[in-house]
Every structure is written in C-alpha cells, then in structure tokens.
Amino acid sequence: MKRISALVVGSAAVLLAGAAYSADLRFGVKVETPSVDPHWSTNTSAIAVGRHAFDHLIAKDELMGLEPQLAESWKAIDDLTWEFKLRKGVKFHDGTPFTADDVLFSFDRATNIETPTSFKQYLADKKGEKVDDYTVLVKTSTPNPLMETDLAAFAIVSKKHGDGASTADFNSGKATIGTGPYKFVEWKREDQLVFEANSSYWGPKATWDKVTYKPIKSNPTRVAALKSGDVDIIDQVPTTDIPSLRKDPKVVLSAGTGNRPFYVWLDSRRDLSPYVWNNDGSPAWPNPLRDWKVRKALSRAINRPGIVDRVFEGSATVGTQLLPEGFYGYNEDLLPEPYEPDMAKKLLAEAGYPDGFKVTLHSTTGGYLNDVKVTESIAQMWTQVGVKTEVVLNPKQVFFSKITGAMNNSTAVRTYSVASGEPSIQLKAVVHTGPIKGTVYCCQPTGMSNPRSDAAIEEAIVTIDRDKREQLFKDAIGIAVKDYGILPIYFEVYTWASRPGIKYIPRLDGFSMAIDVVATN
C-alpha cells in the first residue's frame, strides 16, 4: 500500500538514539475529550482516550482495518444473525472476569444513554443475545452488511461498575473500570488526564508506565510546549510550523494521510440556484452548474497540487475521491484531475459561457485547517478562467445550519469524514440524492443527483458480500466524480511531533493514543 507515511527523523535523533527514554509519556493534544465515559461521545478525541482504559469487541488498527480484540472471532450464521466468540481469561482492572454479560450490558448502555453524540447510530436495529459466558448472538431485522464495523464502534464497560453509573461517575473514575491496557488514574478537566499501565493486560503490554494527556488548544503554545520539554509529543502540528520543525534536530515528525476529504459541493440539482448570476448580475437561468461541461471546467481550473504545496506546505495530498488511497472502497481508476485553465476556458465557451458568469463560494472560517486560504485560492483560480467568484465565509455554527443545512448556497467547500471505517454513510450523505426508502438519510441535502450512483449506493448498503459491496462503492464514487457532481480537492495530512527517541504510528482516523507512540531506540 502506497499511503504517504513520511517519517522525518532529524539527524540528531540518530545520535541520541542511545539515550534512555523515560517510561512516562506526556501527550499535548489540541482537542480535549469531552468525557471519560466511553459511551458519551463519538468524537475522535473521546474514542481515542476511551481506548486506553476500555477495549472494544473489534478494534480498528491505524489503517482503520478491523482486528479482533475482546471478540476472538465472529461469523454470520445467516443473513440476520451473527455469532461472536469472546476472548477467555480477560479480567477487568478490578480483577472481575470479563463475560458475555458485560457485552450485553455495554451494548444496552451505549444504545440507550441520552447524549447528542450517541452510538445508537451504530447499534439501532440490533439485538444481543447471550448463548453462554463466551458466546453472543447479534440479530437484526434486515440483512446488515455493516455488522462488524458497527460493533467495532463501542467500548465494553464493566457491568458491575457501570450499572446505574452516570457520565459523572466515569469522569471521577468510580466507574472507569475497563479491560484496556491502561488504568484510569484521574481527570482534571482542561488540565490533565492520567493513565497508568495495566500490568495484567491480556494483550501486548503497555509501552508507558504513566500517560498524561495535556490539552493545549493554542497552536504556537503546543509547539512551544514540545520544544521546551513540557510534553513529549503533540498532535495537530500547525502546517506553518512544519518546514521549520523538519529542520529542527530536536523534533521528530510523524505524518500520514487522514480520512477527511475536502471537496467542492456544486448545486447541479436546481434550475435556479441562489448564488449564480449572469455577468450583469441577473439570476442565471438555467443554472449553468447543471451543465456537465461547466462543472468539468470548474474542476480543471483548480490547481490542486498548488493548494497542497502552497497552502499546506506539503501537508496534504491531492484528493481524487472521498476515500484515501488503500481504503476499503477506494477506486483506483480515478486519477488526479489535471490543472488545465485553458481547457477550462474552452469548455466554458463550448457550454455557451465564453465570458463566464458570477458565483459565490461559501465556506467556513476557522472550522478546518486553512479553510479560508483554500477557499480564497479556489475563488481566484475560478476567476482566472472567467467565472467571477466571490467568497463568503461563515463561522461553522452559521455555516452548517444557515448555509449548507438550508441549501442556501450554490457552491461550497465542504468535508465529510469516513469516521466509521466504511464508506456507506459518507456516500449516502454526500453523493446519494436521498432519501432512501427504508433507511435513514442525512439532515443535509446533497448538491448532486445522479440516478446511476444512487442505484449503486442503494444496492451496496444491502449487499452482505464484502467484495461485491466494495465494487459497488467503487462504481458509485466513480460515477459521481466522472460526472463532476462533486469536485474532490485534497486530504489533510495528520502530523504529530515528538522528541527524539519516540515516534507516532500515523493513523487514518487521526486518533492521538499513547498506544501508538513507540520508542525508536
């Protein structure tokens, strides 16, 4: 697999390789977990932190592939029933043995706990059943091809301690008793979160004796904290600092492509779109974006490598679709879109817009890394080929509810991560016209509508066969991208910086976990 995984090791790191490392790890993170309760939040930071004290039935490795954790093996008995064989001899931190009862209890708690960021999305329509202490059946009312991915989502807590425990009980540590490689010590919100190694862990032993998470939101401070030795490793290294940190012999960078695609959303559904005008300022009728050639022209006008090099200082990769390379459902036939401004002008002329038209490009400000610069770059590139583009930026709170949520835009720079590790939710939300009968549909409307990609998605989400389903995903995204329904632009590269002697195993999902910090000497 050719996923970019640049590991930049300063020369001094090699010299210092012999130095002993302390077995304490201090991790400076940009985003603090909202809670230690592993069922409270599906946020990246919450799941990452949760995996220290709690194991899952199935874990996701750094490439979001599935690996057995508390479930040793699993199989579909028929279309509606899956059997999970649990690992034997596993003990919770307090010494109680782990059994099927804990699985059923966790299943129930994760489904029913009242929270805005609920795991219910993964667990609804599933029913757990105990066969014996180490066998669990999970039943659904319709065939569910996503069973493994869904069951990988939630953490297993102890029934003994978790029964009746509130989120506050987890935050205080009273109920934070799991089977994971680290034991919870204490959490002072906004200050520090401490774990210590679980010496009786069933799996590979913890690398660190003590792990301290320190939330440092401000970018320059996080970098300074690493340089001054306050912390051993930081995440979300600001792109502007990367060139200088690369040269710094006292810093090791670990980087890898993330699972968050950024794309241009185009309104090709409506005949009259609110932010497209003729050159004289009158509303454009019919909406030029409905024309395939216009959309292709807009795509060819964007200099993607330029954005990656200039805006991100190389800390991004050109996107050809919604999934990063090597991911389940990645379509190898889709190649990077060439940057051809002349071709773009020609296409516009052919489509009947030799002098272009006017359009507004919406985006967030401060919602994502470099979002403002990216939007302004794209607007300039479009203007250069004759499509006069105005930029309107909004804070993410306004953007999601008043702009994109209300379809109050014609073009926008947007993103939708493939957080679950399986692309069906993402395709439903970004590509499918929606709503799909008998299934849930996203709250925000797509700008594109293509019956062929719709059909492929509808078939994929009920296909159990993994290879057949993957082919359908490839077809769906292939059709959407070749139709220029969406214009994929780039993927963020996630970067961690550490002191010499340790490095991070970059993760597609961007989780910052002590489990993935390894000593290099």
Partner: protein
C-alpha cells in the same frame, strides 16, 4: 446602607433575567446547536432522539420556560457537550481563574502603585520617564503576542519556566491551588505576569496623574508647611487621596480579569473559565454560556457593591452624603 444594598440586589436580579433572555435567544440566532453537536454520522432516528434529548425540539419560548423553571430550583441545565451539570463545569475551573486573577492583581498593586508614585513624584527624572515609556508598551502590545514572546524566551530558549498548564496542585479545603507548590508557582509566573501587564500600565498612569495633581493641592502644601515628614505626607495624605480612582478601576478590572482572561488562558493553556466561555460559544453549548454569564453578571454586581463600600471607608465625604440623603 441596608436599603441601598437591597435596592442594588433587586436591580441585580432584573439584570440577570434580561441577560438570560438575551443570551438564550442570541445563541439560537447564531445557529442551531443540534447542527454542531450531533455527529455527522448520526442520522434519522438517532438525530431525532438527540434533538429531543437536548430539548431543542420544543418551541424556543417553551425551552426558555423549562430553563427558568429549572433555574429557580437551582439547576442551570446540563452541558450539551460534557453531559454534566453546567454549574459544575464552571465552578470546577473557578479556583484556577481566581488564582490567576488574584496573582495578576497582586502584581498590579505592588508594582503599579509604587512605580506610578515614583513617576509622579519625579516626573522629570530619567527613571520617571523610563517608567512612563514602559507603561505605553504595556498598554499597546497585544497580550497574545507578549504571551508568545514570554513563552519563547523564558520557556523555550532559557528554560526557566514551563510553557503551559497549571502544574502540581495542593488541595486546601477541597479547592486545588497551585501557588502552594514550587512547581505550581513556576507555572503561574508567566501567565500572571502576562495578564497583569496591561493593568499594571493602567495603574501606573492613573497613580502618576493622581500624584501630580494632588501634590499641588492646598492641604498637601499645608501639611508640608506644618513640618510633617515627607514620607508621612506622601504615604498618608497623598496616597489616600489618589486611591479613589485607582480602587474604582481595580475593582472593575478585577471582574474583567476573572471573566475574560481568555487570551492569557488560551495562550498558556491555563485551565480556567475564560477559555470555557469561548469554547462553549464555539460549540453552541447554550447551558454553559447562559450559566457562565449569569455567574459573571452576579460577580460584577458584587464587585461593584464592594467597591462602593470601600469608597465609603476611604473617603469620609461619601459616607457623609449618604447620611444626608
């Protein structure tokens, strides 16, 4: 005095109610919290359930009445983001902020007033001019920049102080303090200094202006003619007279230090409540924003009350007026 205090407290209740109205409806003008809080994979029934849990399915005015009803029972709501009581989230961070604000205030008083008096007594000396020049810098340099420079110089280059965080703390009566440990104290130095910079400059200028003015007033001339020691004239007669405006400003600014030390807290990753407000607005975590501002408004009212009481201690004329009224 009692009537005065009761009247002030009644006003306070009114202010708090108006404030909750403004904030409550203001947050919804910005955007719907549901769009921010609910994860992008949570669709259909999951979404509906989450909206119901947050109480956002009710009409806005009903949401407000629910909030009022709970508030009267002492429940300011559950944080959308953290899932625990909004009040707990805020109160947890109060000691850190108070500690920072009190430290900054101490620096301001013990550095600002003496320097200001010196500059006022010797306005033409070199030292006086240097102090005044320095105070202009303290005024005009943006505190996020100064904060970063402090970190770069003292943490990264010299390594004297840590770059961020609160360090080791000691629990006294259930409240955690960091100034009681060496590690905690070293964490406190840079942020407290950074926070105090602006206010120290302000106090220097106020004190200097006061001293310059008072030195030529008749009662000072009389005191000196009477043969009182210069020290006594300055530290009793002059100081007492210039303190009224200084106390007013310090009082008002102390509230500001507590409520809005956002920049310093963010730069130094100090786990205080100023940062909490910004984060909560960012997440449209309405219960926390409302509760936070309710606490801050009450705090300001109390501080103003205290300032008024200090006035009457410092200046007999204020007491006299009240009696006459």
């Amino acid at each position: 005095m009692t009537v005065f205090i009761i009247r002030r407290l009644l006003q306070a209740v009114l202010v708090v109610i108006i404030m909750t109205l403004l904030v409550f409806f203001g947050v919804m003008v910005v955007g719907n919290p549901a769009d921010i809080l609910i994860s992008e994979d949570c669709l259909g029934e999951c979404y509906t359930r989450a909206v119901e849990y947050l109480g956002l399915n009710l009409p806005l005015y009903e949401q407000y009445f629910v909030f009022l009803k709970n508030a009267l029972q002492g429940d300011l709501g559950t944080s959308f983001k953290y899932g625990v009581s909004a009040l707990v989230v805020i109160v947890e961070r109060m000691p850190a902020t108070f500690e920072l604000a009190v430290s900054a205030m101490t620096i301001t008083i013990f550095v600002g007033i003496p320097l200001g008096m010196w500059a006022g007594l010797k306005p033409d000396s070199l030292s006086g001019k240097v102090i005044m020049g320095g105070s202009i810098l303290g005024f005009s340099l943006p505190s996020f920049w100064v904060g970063l420079m402090l970190i770069l110089l003292f943490a990264v280059e010299l390594g004297w102080f840590p770059a961020s965080g609160r360090g080791e703390t000691v629990e006294v009566l259930g409240i955690r303090f960091s100034f009681l440990t060496a590690d905690g104290l070293s964490h406190l130095v840079l942020p407290a200094f950074n926070l105090s910079l602006f206010f120290t400059a302000l106090v220097i200028r106020l004190t200097r202006a006061g001293v310059r003015e008072t030195m030529f007033v008749d009662f000072i001339k009389f005191a000196r003619a009477k043969g009182l020691q210069v020290r006594r004239v300055i530290f009793v007669h002059v100081l007492k007279n210039i303190l009224i405006p200084v106390v007013t400003v310090l009082g008002l600014e102390f509230g500001g230090l507590i409520a809005f030390a956002v920049v310093t807290e963010t730069i130094f990753a100090w786990p205080g409540m100023g940062k909490l407000l910004i984060d909560s607005i960012d997440n449209l975590d309405r219960p926390v924003v409302v509760a936070y501002l309710m606490i801050i408004v009450s705090l300001f009212i109390v501080i103003n009350l205290v300032v008024d009481i200090i006035y009457s201690v410092l200046d007999p004329r204020v007491r006299l007026q009240r009696v006459q009224n």
